[in-house]
């Protein structure tokens, strides 16, 4: 491994002992970072260094490191999942940065995403929104109906699939100036609203999911479009319009 290509970085990282502690930005120097390493590998490197020095490592969320699970978060240099497009933090590589760069690493900020420790936030509010209506009731007690027996037109199937690619990472909330969960809720509402299987519970689904999101403390939607730009899965604002339509018609029923 050539050492000449290694980058020297200044890292400004949010450190917070626990949910109740008052956190602050702390500065770390990290040298010899390979441009080929992923962003999370760079943090692993920093944590090795911190542990060797007898300091507490930086806590951050990660799981699959393949860009499909939605576990990693991080607000990097002012953007959720960093400067890349259509990627999660784990798919961000250090070649996106330059030698000598200062990188700000902060947790996703929202009232409904309280910090647990350092860069780890509690995103269970998303689970509670999902529980409020993000499902279809299917009889699975031995007489399951073949899903393919119900005809679905190609366009609806594609749109439902696009909405269903949401991994629930929360980048939409982190990017939104109002910490609104509209794109997430809209994706979850749309994926069922577009399919015949989702029609039975459609009315209560949109009403209850929207209500839950607001109770969790997510803000209103200002249609800035920041969520769509930052979404690692490219979930379209079209879904928010669909949610607004669904909400309107459900309110009249």
């Amino acid at each position: 491994m050539s050492t000449s290509k290694g980058m020297n970085l200044t890292l400004k990282i949010w450190r917070q002992k626990n949910a109740n502690a008052k956190g602050q930005i702390e500065t770390y120097q990290l040298s010899d970072v390979s441009p080929d390493s992923s962003f999370l590998e760079m943090l692993d490197m920093l944590n090795d260094k911190l542990i060797n020095e007898g300091n507490s490592p930086v806590a951050f969320d990660h799981d699959c490191r393949e860009g499909i699970c939605g576990a990693c978060s991080l607000h990097i240099n002012g953007e959720p999942h960093g400067p890349g497009r259509r990627i999660t933090t784990c798919q961000l590589h250090m070649r996106s940065f330059k030698d000598g760069d200062t990188i700000y690493i902060e947790p996703f900020r929202a009232k409904a995403f309280p910090v647990i420790k350092d860069l780890v936030v509690d995103r269970e509010s998303f689970d509670r929104i999902q529980h409020a209506g993000g499902y279809v009731s299917v009889n699975t007690s031995g007489n399951t109906v073949d899903a393919n027996a119900i005809p679905v037109d190609k366009e609806s199937a594609d749109k439902a699939f696009d909405a269903a690619t949401c991994i629930g990472c929360g980048a939409c909330v982190a990017a939104c100036k109002n910490a609104s969960a509209s794109l997430f809720v809209a994706a979850k509402v749309s994926q069922y609203a577009l399919l015949p299987q989702g029609q039975i519970e459609a009315k209560n689904r949109v009403l209850n999911m929207v209500k839950q999101a607001e109770e969790e403390g997510f803000g209103p939607c200002s249609n800035t479009g920041a969520c769509e730009v930052e979404c690692p899965k490219g979930i379209s604002l079209e879904n928010i319009a669909r949610m607004n339509r669904e909400f309107f018609s459900a309110s009249l029923k």
Partner: protein, 258 residues
Amino acid sequence: MSESKGLIKSHIVKKYWMAFTGLFLCLFLVGHLIGNLQLFATTYEGQLQFNEYAVFMTTNPAVKILSYLTYFSILFHLVDGIVITAANRKARPQGYAYNKPSANSMWSSRNMGILGTIIFVYIVVHMQNFWYEYKFGSTPYMMTEDGSAPVLKDGSVVKGGTIENGEVLLNGEVMGAAMRDLYTVVLEGFQNPILVAFYVLGMIAIAFHLVHGFQSAFQSLGLRNQTYTPIIKKLGYAFAIIVPALFAIIPIYMYLMA
């Protein structure tokens, strides 16, 4: 229905109202602009026509209903905007140390509250300048071109008539209410370059407010599809540029003309 309370309180419903009142105010802007364009006619006939228009706008019952709807929409849009902004702020108690919103959204879309506040200040000053001045101020009365006789609200000339307390008298007999000369108030008002600059700034704020607001209203109402949305977006940009620009040209024109 158990959810009904949530429905009234929902952010989405507040956004429906924001969109609905906003689009209504866009229609108002068009109507207001058409009226204002008469100010380009700088002859005596133009002056008379504008003042007759001012009489129509302050006496016609249909216009009266529309004007109350407009006042209501402005106030509702304002109060709803304040409520929504408060909810926006509450959702993120702790901000980012380093944030780069320009990477993912337009400045105007993030600053509708600030733009709206500037527009509100503009409306208050604008109402004071012309509406208050016309209704309660010392607006002069309309005379014939040679200044020899007063003109009634219906446009008829009373030769040898005199004006007293807003009424035209001829030989001690009341002939009718005198027409006020709003045109001259406007013309004289716009001889002040600071006021002209203020009006142009107000229109710039409206332009930026509309750049986001026009297309955002359709999105809030769920009116979006692949055919119409690109057209709505283009129409929104055109509206946001053309309408405030035409409004803004009028004070500049009147300043340069005199």
